[in-house]
Amino acid sequence: MRDGPPRLTSALLRRVLPPEWREPVLRDLEELWAGRRRRSRLRARADLWYIGQALSFALRFGVDRLALGRLAELVPGGREVGRAVHSLLRSPLHSALVVVTLAVGVGTVTAMYSVLRQVVLRPLPVERPERVVVAWHDHRLRDFSHYPFNWTSWSAAREGVGGFEAVAATDSWGSVERLVGEEGEETILRWSRVVGDFFGLLGVEPVAGRTLRPEDDVAGGPRVAVISEGLWERRFGRGPSAIGSTLRLDGESWTVVGVMPHDFDFPRGTEVWSALHPFYAEAAGARERMELDLIARLAPGADIPGVSGALGRVYGEHPDLRESLAGAVPVVRPFPEVVLGDVRPTLLLLFWGSMVVLGVALANVASLVLVRADRRKELLAVRSALGAGGWRLAGEAAAEGLVLGTAGWLVGGALAAAALHLLVPLAPAGLPRMDRVGLPSPGTLLATGAASVLLLLTVTLVPLARRRRAPPFHLLRGGGRGAVASPRLGRHAMVVGQIALALWVVAAGALAGRGLRDLLALDPGFEVDGLVLVELDVPHALFEMPDDYPERLARVGRRLDALGGVDGVTPVLDPPLTGAGGHFYTPRLEGQSWEEALDENPLARVEVVQEDVLDVLELPLVRGRSVVRADDAGSERVVLVNQAAARAFWPGEDPLGKRLEAPYPGVRGEPWTVVGVVGDTRWESLADVRPAVLFPHRQLNLMPLRHLALRTRSGGVPVADAVRDALAAEAPALRLRGVTTVRSRMDGPLARPRFATLVLAVFGGATLLLAVIGVYGMMASLVASRTPEMGVRMACGAGPGRIRGMILGRAGAVAAAGVAVGLAATLLTAGLLRVGLPDAPPPDLPTLLATTLVVLLAALGACWLPAYRASRIDPVRVLRGE
């Protein structure tokens, strides 16, 4: 058992003390520690005292060593500031609480404003962006909320809507990952295709070279592209050699003609923009396949409701569109809204939330400063009686305000910088413009600094101004008692509000955390671990799928299957967990017309499978049989459905033997018979299970299957080279794009709930800390203002326990009221929480109980020190003072 004070503390103290005082100070402290150790049963009490003393010595000798005092003599007002520093160091708890409170408020606002400024308030690099609109359709009849324009509807809109000054378009699905470069050296770049005078319409200027022009958008025309500033920096080091260089895509060369500014990020994530028509030899071929989002600049005087109405009228009068777009509602959105997505309201909400946190922090700071002023009233009275002038005392108070405000601001700025540094890299990948969020700007820091200092100057000077009305001898007699009033209703209400706010935010954070835990615990319906996904690059020419494509893929699979550690390989159409971006369709059931089918049937996910699918994905076969190799183009058309599809399409009936139809070219009108039912999966999103129809690849060879799923024993099998070899041997037109594990793809859908939980945890911590300080401030003020009363009570026989109970009882009542308001608010805003946190469960009893317990314990913990101080009041001294 060691004997002596904490060694590490002594060692640290030794480093700070000046040499001539080092040994004597350590000796005195060790002697005092030994005395305390003998008197106390708990060694920890003596150790804690020692650590506190060591900190105090380190701080004071540190300040003295920096010769701040002497430096202060040379600067105007420096002496007051130096004195303020020493005075504040004499009340380290109070000073630390003020600084921490201010820092939490200032830090939260600074961090949130920095994000808001970069993401929402920074202007878009587009000419008058509010006059630009992006349009698509809400086609309820076909169950599509984002139904694109085709060439006919786009041309009709361009020519028929007078409210459009200029019209262009992009691919409706935005930027797409494409494999660019010579064979063996390819990289994945996000490529967007545009139609018409896209850049001219937006009025965006290139940082080098030129933008794309309408004459570049010609079928069989020159293949030119512009690249993003990020790609220019990464690949060409911002050098002039970028212009005129070529990008190889699907065996074709595209010449780079310009570089777009960093801020221009539309469609989101784009690294290369090119025109759409040059992808095709003939315009007709291009126009057949177009799925576009229309982009237009509004003519002077035109507005969104006007052009939406005009679009509807144009479709109604158009012979080809009248039917196909019947029931489709044009969706016309302002460009800034499309670029920022749903981030704008969320960030604005968070910013105003941070302003509330700042407000609470400022109220607490004011309360803490007033408590200190009350404790020091006698000292000030003595100094005033000894001749210290009002201006001098005001100067000293102002210096204290300046020191506290500056310290709070500096710590707050550091907190904000640290929070941004840690949290921004964790933001989900889909959030726009987050890459530019960095440290707080000098302007932001200057504004928060000025506000902090101004506030502290105000709250330190106000009690002094009030006291000036009373003459010093009145104060000396004790007449100044109660300069700070006993906490009254308004103060109590404020603390109740703080506790309620803390409970609400902590509860929201706990619910978000539970939602995240539930997501992590969900059974996706297929075995995730050990599943490796190989992504293939299918050349553009292959969209007309060759008949032997299924067989070639199967042969590639068999070659990989022979590798050690691989237990099975199967091609899949859509990779798992892509959200809504997969293949869906509405099946027509036997006996239904297409209109009825579109009206009544939910969308079903389309999967195209080969015979190994159940083994590789470890999907359970619930009824019937699986797909076999003999299910080919020459045999009866069969499908598998999942349990959700069976329930949705044939409720209460046996799905085996039922028939459905698919609206695909070449197979339309032919019935497909259900031969098997497989287990439900959460393939496209963890959030829900959707109906799915699984077609045999050899019977439905219309879509390029771009992925191979490999069942491996460890998940870490190096397969890239083997895939390249297998492709070279069996399908030379295909190339390897990348290899990922399905486990790593789980991070995508978890990113948002994870980030929301993190942000709420930070906000919850901040509000809880402020509530604790609020309770402490209120109770400290109560004890300060009622010291004489408590002294009298103790003189009349009340023991320390009773006094402590009195304080704790008062604090308990306020905390209970706060908790009640917070619980009511949480329940009343359950709907709002559901919108903001779609993955979180509704408020439930265990979460609310746990949250309540945490908040109550924190609140009661906060009044321990005031209660302890109150129980140590010396009644004799108080009575003498009276």
Binding site: P24, D28, F57, D64
Partner: protein
């Protein structure tokens, strides 16, 4: 205050060093004192020539630093007392009446 406390400890026939000086200050003022502030003040007063200090090795190992008030410190204390008494002249009835 610290200077007076050093003087009080010395007057009681003890050698003055950090621990008894802090005890004396707390006993006479009736409030707790930040120990580190007293040590820093002693160091500063030595720099200003108001006290002088010396180390004394003891059998237990670590040295102790003792202090005493210098003639210059005594002079300053005397000046302070005179100023205070002059300032209080005629004010005592005010306090007694309270």
């Amino acid at each position: 205050m610290v200077l007076l406390a050093v003087l009080q400890v010395s007057r009681q026939g003890e050698d003055a060093y950090g621990v008894p000086v802090v005890d004396e200050l707390e006993r006479r003022s009736g409030r707790s004192v930040a120990r580190a502030s007293v040590y820093v003040t002693l160091r500063r007063m030595e720099e200003k020539g108001l006290v002088r200090s010396w180390l004394e090795e003891e059998a237990s190992g670590r040295p102790r630093r003792f202090v005493e008030v210098t003639p210059r410190g005594m002079e300053l204390l005397g000046e302070g007392r005179r100023t205070l008494l002059t300032m209080w002249e005629g004010l005592e009835p005010l306090l007694e009446g309270s």
